[in-house]
Structures are given as C-alpha cells and as structure tokens.
Amino acid sequence: MDADAELTGMYSQRVPESDTPPGPARHPHLTRRDTLIRYLTANPSYLQVTPLALVILLFLLFPVLTILIVSFWDYDAYRLIPDLILENYEFLLTSPVTLKAYLKTFFYAATTWAITLVLGFTVAYYLAFHIRSSLLQGMLFVLCTLPFLTSNIIRMISWIPLLGRNGLVNSTLLELKLIDAPIEWLLYSDFAVVLAFVHLYTLFMVVPIFNSMMRIDRNLIEASIDAGASGLQTIFQVVVPLCRSGIAIGSIFVVTLVMGDFITVGIMSGGLSASVGVLIRNEISLLQYPAAAAGAVVLLTTVLIMLGILFRFINIKKEL
C-alpha cells in the first residue's frame, strides 16, 4: 500500500501531464496504471530498491521519528500528553546524573573496545596467519562462534557463581592460600561489567578482522620480510593498515553494543552503577516514555557523532 503511494507519487511528480486523459472514452485509472508499468519497466532499479526501502522506512525511520516526536511530549503518572515542550531535554542535559552516566558509559565503551581490539586482533592474526590448513582454520573459526549458540544472558549470568564472594575463583585462591580474604571487587563492580562485555563481544572484533586479514595478499608479507622488516614492523606497517576496515567494522559493533547496553551493566554491577541505557530503561519501566525518548535521541546523536568521527579516519566503503 505504501509502495503504491510512493510510486504513484513519484510518477505524478515526473509526468504530471498524463493525469488528464485526452479522450473521454479512456478510463483514467487504466491510463495511470499503464504509464506506471511502462515507467517501471524502463527503470527497474526502483522496483529492486523498493523492498529494502520499505523495510528501512517501516522499521527504522518510522520508529526513530516516533521517538523524536514523543521526546517533546509531556507526561504524568499514567498518560502521554501530546505537546511541544523542551523540559525533557532541559532536565536531561543539565542533570549531573546524565553526565555521570555518560562518563561511565564512555569508560565501559573505551575499555571494552581496547581489550576486545587487542584480543580480537590477536585471535584473528593467529587464525589467519599461523593456521595453515584451511580445514583447521574453518573448524577453529566455528569453535570461536560456539558460545554464541547460547543466549547472551545465560553466558553473562554464569559469571556470577564464578566471581562471587564464595564463588569458584575466590574459593580456589583461598584454598591455594594466595589470598587471606575473598576479593570483593570481582563481582558487582566495573571489573565484572567490563569482563562480561569482553566475553560477550570479542567475537564481533574477531570476525571482521579475520575477514580483512584473509584478503591480504601473502606476497606483501613476504615482500616486507624481504625488505628487512621485523615481525612487529610487518604487523604494524603492513597488516594493521590493511585490516583498517575490519577494525573499523568491529569497533562499530563493539562500541554501539556497549553504548546501548543495560542488561549487562544492571546484572554485573549488581545495580550499583548506571549507564545511559540503564537510565533509559528505568524511565521506560516507570512509563516515563517522553523522558526515555529524549534520552534515546541524545544517545543516538552521541553514537552517530562517534561513528562520524570514525568514518573521517577510515573510509569503509573504499576499503571493503
């Protein structure tokens, strides 16, 4: 239905004169359809792009626009009141809570990004350059994805009995007499949050970097060694620059996932710290949709700005 409207719109804009049929005997409706079909057979690309355009329109643009509109609404305990107020943004942008939550979220994003990058690069490097048999390579790669067959909440929660005060790690260390008292910061701390993030998201770094590495012409590595470069020099001056697109894609995944997260932060910090996602979730659970929408718009803008900066340095389209 949307497709028709869109296409008719397109058509009537471009060929307005055929809207009025020349002869009285001809049915206007038929004419329009005929012209439309002729137009589309001449330009099939419009048809090809329609499904994707519709999906994006319905599931991305429409919801984002709704959120944007609702973020200016007013609310009381049980109602959303259509309005145009700036109070939601005013509170959000001046509250010290927002600042704290953003700093915390940036901290999580930056640490997770740095650790997953190093880990992901190392794993990918090992898979791509050290494993010679492509069968083994494939098998190891599948092995990497294996944990993803369970839900990420289960993977996260399984850390809790491990890290707790009386958990496996603490009781082992106590048993070995390495510590006298249980280490408290293992669970319900920033450490626990970052650990869970790294566990959950490293694969998102491994896959694109591995993909980029597999496309590197092995002759380049040989040439670099022939030219007298050390192993490290080869990595940093040949492999890393050629993996830039993979690193960028992995970074986008990790950073956006961490920025929007609320479950991991909620569970692993024991509710003690709040990321931006946690604040938005709190507001949603209290039915303060306009405030939550304003929070979401600001978060979206922040992430888009971050991606904008990233794209200034790496042209993903060119290097794919």
């Binding site: 305990a77 049980y78 109602r79 509170f91 509250s95 010290p96 809570v97 704290k100 939550a101 915390k104 809790i160 009995p161 707790g164 005060r165 009386n166 958990g167 408290e184 669970l187 319900y188 909620g266 910090s269 024991g270 509710g271 003690l272 710290s273 709040a274 946690v278 604040l279 709190n282 659970s285 209290l286 039915l287 303060q288």
Partner: protein, 447 residues
C-alpha cells in the same frame, strides 16, 4: 460442615488467644472472637460454607471474565478452582504494577476485573474507569478484616502511614469517584491479598541479634547489605531505615516532601559511597541469589523470597523489627463497562474469592487472606496455628503444591497475624512528588 464445627472453631480460637499473656494479644483476641462469632452466625443462614448451589450458577456458567493484575495473586490455581466451583472462565494476565496502573487508567475496555494494589487504586479509581461495588450484594462482606474497613486491626490500633487500604477502600456513592472518609455501601476494591514486609537476614552470618531497621547501616555489614531498586518501594524501606537511625522524622513516609526526599537520598548516597551496599536487586530471584550465595547477609526482602532461600536448606529469617513493617495490599475491582450477566458473574466471583478456599490458598503461601475467618475452614488446625496464630507447627507444613515448607516445630517469623499486621508502620503508596523522587532515586543509583 455442621454448626458444631463452627462452635469448635470458636472454642479453638479463644483458647489460642488465651495462651498469650501480654496485653497486645488480649486486645487482638477481642477482635478475633468478634470475627469468629460472625462466622458462626453466618453459617446458620447461608450456604456459603457448603459450596455454591447459587441462583446464578446455571446462568453464569459460560461467562468469561478477563482479569489482569500483578503476578502475586494472578494464580492459575485460583482460575481453575473458580471454573470448578462457579463455572466462570477467568482469563488471567500478569503485568508489572506500573503497566497495570496504566491499563486501568487508559484502556478501560481491556479488562473486566482489575487486581491492583491499593496505592494504584488511589491513582486510578478517580480516572472513572472502574465501578464501585455494592457491599450489600457481597454475602461475605462482613467477614472482611477490619483492617480494610476502618483501618484498625484491633479497636485501638493506630493507623499506619502511607496509603492505608481503608482510606481508598470506599467511595461516597455508586457513581462517585471521591474516596469516602467513612465506610459506605460502595467499595472500590475487595481486598484479596496482603502482607507485611521487613528485612531478611542470614542468622548464621550476621553474628548478632538484629532488632531495628537501622541495623542494615551497621559498618559491621559493610559490603554485605542490599536494598531493592524499585523506587516506589525502595524509598519506603529507605525511610524506615533513616527514621530508625534518628536522622529524619517524617510527617508521612508515604508522601514525603521534597526536602525529606533530598535528605533520604543524601543518606543513601553516602552509604553507597562508603561501600555499605553489595548490590541492589530488582527482581525476586535476584534477592534469593544474593542471600543464598552469602553475598548479602541483611537486605530488604519479600516473604516468598525468604521461603525460597529456606527451601535451599539455607537459614534465612524474615526478621521482625522494632519500628514495624512496611505493608502492602491488593484487591479486585470491577471495570466500569461490566453490566448484566457479566456483572452478576463478577459479583459471584468476588464473593467466592472471600468465601475461604482462595484465602486458605494464599495463607499457605505466607500471604494473608482478606477474610481470615472463612479461610480457617479450609485449613487444618495445624496450618492455621502455624500461619495465622504464630504457633509452633505440629507436623510438616506444606506449600499449596505439596512441598515441605517448614519442618515440625517451626514457628513463623514475626509470630501471629495480629503481631505482624498489628505492627505496620506504613503502607506502600505513591507520593505527590513521585516524579521528583524517581529522579533523585536515579541520581542515587548513578552516584
């Protein structure tokens, strides 16, 4: 059941009350005998106890009622039993309390029966989407605990702070949405389920007697305490703590001023910065895990969570405290659009709810039934003694689904119904400054 049985019950209960020697229990005895007498009287005239061969039984057979509410009382067992006894089909939907409140206020046609808490009622009944119930049509009305009628469990109880159920239990007339100061013929909610909440402790790990709410702030428990991160309830527990510490004296803990909220949150933030809290919990199972893993030794808790920790064989006590309990209560009310046969069926259902079977079921879960006297007939003397009278169990106490909850010899934490519900310090409520409170609460969590 014969009239003689009623008499036995009466003797039984007076004997029970005689056992306690302190003044409080003697007072509660009076109230209880009155209730028991009512049961005896009612048994003469009505068939309420023997079952439901009632006039509507044939007509209402095919009626379907949609009931939604919070998870606690939306029990499938109740729907099944209602089908069996009345023939009514109940479609239950469980939602969280905020969602329930919103549905009641904004989508009046999406439900027939609302199962809501009293503080939600205070917010939503004035929206005019529900209808008041004619108490004359409820045969079991006079068996409802006085707690929900005039707020006094015993004639000289003091009325607790917060949204006490009786303050929003009646409206001035059939079509009125104005809450009445005195009991009237028009009831907003018929109470179904309620309880008194307090702190849960690990008696094996705290290492000293716990007597006050302020004990949760004891530096000895640094890093081993937790409170719940549901703002509306968490702030009340916090208020109980702050008042117990002697830091703040609230005019009404259920409706704080901005200044009181600021002070309370400041105390919480300081405690958090000092590392007093191990974690905050949001859901029932989180509180169970915190307690059973030993991460936490003292925390705010709900009664079924305490039972769940004990079911794992871990010692856990629902510790009665000097300052009293934070209580909550819910009830069922009728949607405005109900009429005719559906309305008759709804009345029949609500009357059935009060008639004893459901009450006994809820009592066995550690909650309380709104009409204690009727539920007694559906419980064994030992069950009644354990859950309601606070006596030591003679045999194993079973949960409604037949699992052993307490071994013989166990005594309920906090004692009898009158000891627990008579010591309520405040009721769950929603504040006028709710929006402000939630912002401050977020500030506390993010700090």
């Amino acid at each position: 059941m014969s009239f003689d049985d009623k008499k036995d019950l009466k003797d039984n209960t007076s004997a029970a009350a005689d056992e306690s020697k302190d003044g409080k229990s003697v007072l509660s005895r009076r109230g209880f005998i009155k209730a028991a007498g009512v049961v005896g009287g009612a048994a003469l005239g009505s068939g309420a106890i023997t079952g439901f061969p009632m006039i509507w039984a044939q007509n209402i057979k095919n009626v379907k009622l949609r009931q939604f509410g919070t998870g606690v009382s939306n029990l499938n067992a109740i729907a099944e039993k209602a089908k069996e006894d009345l023939g009514i089909t109940l479609e239950l939907t469980a939602l969280d309390s905020d969602a329930v409140a919103q549905r009641v206020a904004t989508q009046p046609r999406s439900f027939d029966i609302a199962d809501i808490e009293y503080w939600i009622c205070k917010k939503t009944f004035p929206a005019g989407t529900m209808q008041a119930m004619d108490t004359k049509r409820l045969k079991n009305f006079d068996k409802i605990s006085p707690l929900f009628i005039d707020g006094k469990l015993t004639p000289d109880s003091t009325i607790a702070q917060g949204t006490a159920p009786h303050t929003v239990g009646f409206v001035e007339g059939k079509d009125s949405t104005k809450f009445a100061a005195e009991p009237t013929q028009w009831m907003t909610l018929v109470p179904t389920i309620y309880n008194a909440d307090t702190l849960g402790i690990r008696p094996d790990l705290v290492g000293r007697p716990i007597t006050n709410w302020r004990d949760i702030m004891d530096p000895a428990f640094r890093g081993k305490t937790s409170i719940l991160n549901i703002p509306a309830i968490g702030i009340m527990d916090a208020a109980m703590i702050c008042e117990s510490m002697g830091e703040i004296h609230y005019a009404d803990k259920g409706n704080m001023t901005r200044e009181e909220i600021d002070k309370t949150i400041a105390i919480l933030m300081k405690a958090k910065a000092d590392g007093q809290f191990r974690a905050f919990w949001k859901s029932f199972d989180e509180s169970v895990n915190l307690m059973s893993s030993g991460e936490v030794v003292i925390q705010s808790m709900w009664s079924p969570a305490v039972a769940a920790v004990r079911a794992k064989g871990i010692a856990c006590k629902y510790q009665p405290l000097e300052e009293g309990y934070r209580a909550w209560g819910g009830g069922i009310g009728l949607a405005k659009h109900l009429s005719g046969l559906e309305l008759d069926a709804a009345y029949e259902y609500i009357d059935w709810y009060l008639s004893g079977w459901v009450g006994a079921y809820l009592n066995r879960q550690g909650y309380y039934s709104a009409a204690p006297s009727t539920s007694q007939q559906y419980m064994s003397a030992d069950e009644w003694g354990f859950w309601i009278e606070g006596k030591a169990a003679l045999g194993d106490i079973l949960s409604p689904d037949g699992k052993v909850m307490e071994k013989a010899g166990a005594v309920r934490d906090g004692g009898s119904y009158w000891d627990r519900m008579g010591a309520v310090a405040c009721w769950n409520s929603v504040m006028d400054e709710n929006k402000y409170m939630i912002r401050k609460w977020n500030e506390f969590i993010a700090s």
